[in-house]
């Protein structure tokens, strides 16, 4: 009998659960950000939310679109860099009226979001959403698995590795290369690209190792460092990020190899500070953005403002800003915020970013075309350091917009 009461109560709670009213305001655009806000990768995710919020306040909020001032509602949702959690949050976001989904880390998450949006937009033509991906750079996202609803606001792995190999090719003293990466789609794509471009550009370089390790689970990289040492590699190419990057760099330094490291995520979110001295003269990063020097006064001003507002934090993902800038321009071009119109407006859109770069959203595969920078991990001569450590990165060379345009196998399914 007691059970009966409790069951009724349970049912009552269900009613309560359902009672959360969600009313979408007219005249506003809802932007959802899905990334890791908790768990081992929360540092990156939280930083991303901070930067995106700031960029939106600068470049979208109050922007004049079709004669009206734009209002933006921002939702930060915890996807835990996990495809399933991210889709749960995606559904939460869309059912709350979000039309633009920003997301940074995790190619597996990106594939899941692309798949889910393809289905959702087909089933709900009145309630579509766009996906602006500025960090998950598996090349198949703008290649074999490209989607009309997905826009990549970062150079994909192929582009980055291409630029990286450019820099390596310029050093004739390099004879042996070791490739190490995290054991999932991104790490595998990185390894494949590295092998491909090295073979094209410098067939004389011997690839002495091609190692995958479990992501986020390795506590001590010393055994891997030992393997690298034994291979007598001159250069280590890695796509590692987060704690896997830090610990790899530290172990390589500890074991005393002379190999230099080329990577694509090796600053900010604690990495510069922890790598510290061990990376000096060894660590090079290929990324996009003008960290040091800032290139344009507007860009320096933007950064100073952000840092003044968030002391103790860094501006890590500069491409966030370019993505938001581009979205704003697309709103203007489309004359509104309807996702389909905005998607069409984004195609082929070319802008000059606040840091003075020319970038273009290629219509064919929705891959942003952009110049890339090769940067060195340094201590001196920089204005913007990371992690309050004095360490940071400085641009050493640039791979121009034109020279980094790679072909794509994308055959896009278009609505209409």
């Amino acid at each position: 009998m007691n059970k009966l009461n409790v069951m009724l109560l349970g049912a009552g709670s269900l009613v309560l659960a359902a009672g959360f009213p969600v009313v979408a305001q007219a005249g506003t655009v809802k932007i959802a950000y899905i990334d890791a806000l908790s768990g081992p990768f929360a540092a990156t995710g939280q930083a991303g939310a901070r930067e995106l919020r700031h960029a939106i306040s600068k470049f979208l909020e109050g922007k004049e679109v079709a004669g009206e001032k734009l209002e933006v509602e921002f939702l930060a949702l915890d996807g835990k860099i996990n495809p399933k959690e991210s889709l749960v949050q995606l559904q939460n976001a869309i059912s709350q009226g979000a039309e633009y989904i920003f997301h940074n880390s995790g190619s597996s998450v990106a594939h899941a979001i692309v798949g889910a949006l393809e289905k959702h937009n087909k089933r709900n033509p009145d309630n579509r959403a766009l996906y602006l991906n500025y960090g998950a750079i598996d090349p198949s996202l703008t290649g074999s698995k490209c989607s009309f609803w997905h826009f990549m606001i970062d150079a994909n792995v192929d582009m980055k590795v291409n630029a990286m190999v450019d820099a390596i090719a310029a050093k004739p003293e390099i004879k042996k290369a070791y490739i190490i990466g995290q054991d999932y789609s991104f790490g595998k794509a990185f390894s494949a690209a590295a092998k491909r471009y090295l073979a094209q550009r410098r067939p004389d370089i011997e690839i002495v190792g091609d190692q995958l390790h479990p992501i986020g689970k390795v506590k001590d990289f010393a055994p891997y460092a030992q393997k690298i040492l034994r291979s007598q590699a001159d250069v280590v190419l890695t796509g590692n990020w987060g704690a896997d990057m830090i610990n790899l760099a530290k172990s390589i330094k500890d074991i005393g190899t002379q190999a230099s490291i080329y990577t694509i995520y090796a600053y900010g979110a604690g990495i510069s500070g922890v790598v510290g001295e061990s990376g000096l003269g060894k660590l090079s990063v290929v990324a996009q953005g003008h960290i040091n020097p800032a290139n344009t006064p507007e860009w320096a001003l933007y950064k100073d403002e952000f840092l003044a507002k968030h002391p103790g934090n860094d501006l890590i993902n500069e491409r966030t800003v370019y993505g938001v800038q581009m979205l704003g321009e697309a709103f203007v071009k489309a004359g509104g915020t309807d996702p389909l119109k905005v998607a069409l407006a984004l195609e082929g859109l070319e802008i000059t970013t606040v840091s003075g770069d020319k970038v273009m959203m290629r219509a064919k595969d929705h891959q942003m075309q952009m110049p890339l920078q090769v940067m060195a991990h340094v201590k001196d001569g920089i204005k913007y350091d990371f992690d309050q450590s004095g360490y940071g990165v400085r641009t050493t060379s640039t791979v121009a917009f034109e020279s980094n345009q790679l072909d794509s196998v994308c055959e896009m399914q278009r609505p209409l």
Binding site: S38, G39, P40, F41, A42, A43, Q46, D183, Q211, L212, H213, P214, G216, K217, V218, K219, D220, A222, P223, Y224, Q226, K227, L229, R230, A243, I246, N247, K250, D254, I255, G256, T257, A269, G270, I271, G273, V274, G276, D387, S389
Partner: protein, 316 residues
């Protein structure tokens, strides 16, 4: 080949002894109280954070000294005001409680110290390499970790062997009720045991923080491995934990060094594995890829065939 073996041996030893430092506290707690403390890795992490905070103000050595003490004290308080309350309901609620503590510790650490990896650094004196062998440096700090672990092991062993406290503990391992019968203050002993156990995890955290990284995820992977150690070695057996720690440390490092997969074995038998072969992914998975999986396999097999473990004094 030879240098790989030497270095894998050294690295495995360092990692294994660190595992032992962690699991010795866990074993101690289990022996005395019958509780498998799921929050043990959480205390390890907490200590690394405390040690970091102290080290930036007072220096590394103070951190190494005080962080384990603070964590031990917190552990004792958790026992006094938490575990003791659920003790009377049996082992299952105790396990659930420690699970909750582990969960909370991870959140608490992020709440207080933020989510970034912290720059918890080795002291100057322990920077650099101790010796160079076949062109590879062996860092001083690793030797330091090795020495600390061994010293703690020796201290623990002698306390157990030659002191009155050790006598009580050894009695408790086989016969949990006997301590109370001998007229000792059982609640106090429990509290102290839990405190000492967590302090041991604290020492591990304070010395591992600079090399393995001080970040909110540092407990998550290690917690599981630790249970493997104590269960494989035999619940409540310090000697078993020691052997199991070294075994797992060595297996893990050697597995990484070996790139062979089952397909290589088949190749020796003239069987070629291609993508069309049934269960292709199993055959080509290399040993280094499955390295993290091995400990759990060892644990499950042990639990099925010999739940008392390698040198277990009693079943739970």
């Amino acid at each position: 080949m030879f240098e790989t073996i030497i270095f894998s041996l050294l690295n495995g030893l360092v990692y294994g002894l660190l595992l032992f430092l962690l699991s010795s506290g866990l074993t101690l707690i289990f022996s005395m109280m019958g509780v498998l403390n799921l929050a043990h890795a959480g205390f390890y992490m907490l200590s690394a954070y405390f040690a970091y905070s102290i080290s930036i103000h007072l220096g590394f050595w103070y951190g190494l000294l005080f962080a384990p003490l603070i964590v031990g004290f917190i552990g004792a308080m958790v026992e006094r005001y938490g575990l003791r309350k659920v003790h009377k309901f049996g082992h299952v609620p105790e396990l659930i409680f420690t699970f909750g503590v582990a969960f909370l510790l991870e959140e608490l650490v992020q709440f207080v110290w933020g989510r970034n990896q912290l720059a918890y650094n080795k002291p100057e004196i322990l920077e650099g390499s101790l010796f160079t062998l076949f062109g590879a440096d062996f860092p001083i700090y690793k030797m330091f970790m090795l020495i600390v672990s061994v010293v703690i092991f020796i201290i623990l062993l002698s306390v157990l062997k030659y002191t009155r406290t050790g006598l009580i503990i050894r009695a408790a391992v086989g016969h949990p009720n006997v301590v109370g019968m001998l007229g000792h203050n059982v609640p106090l002993i429990f509290m102290v045991t839990f405190g000492v156990g967590t302090a041991l995890a604290g020492i591990a955290g304070a010395i591992a923080g600079p090399v393995l990284g001080t970040y909110p995820g540092m407990a998550s992977g290690l917690g599981g491995i630790m249970f493997v150690v104590v269960i494989f070695g035999g619940l409540g057996s310090l000697g078993g934990a020691f052997i199991a720690s070294l075994m797992i440390g060595l297996i893990q490092t050697f597995a990484i060094a070996i790139d062979a997969s089952l397909s290589d074995v088949f190749l020796l038998m003239d069987i070629v594995i291609t993508e069309q072969t049934f269960m292709y992914d199993i055959w080509v998975t290399s040993l280094s890829q499955v390295a993290p999986l091995i400990p759990y396999l060892m644990m499950v097999v042990m639990l099925i065939f010999r739940p008392a473990g390698l040198m277990g004094a009693r079943e739970s």
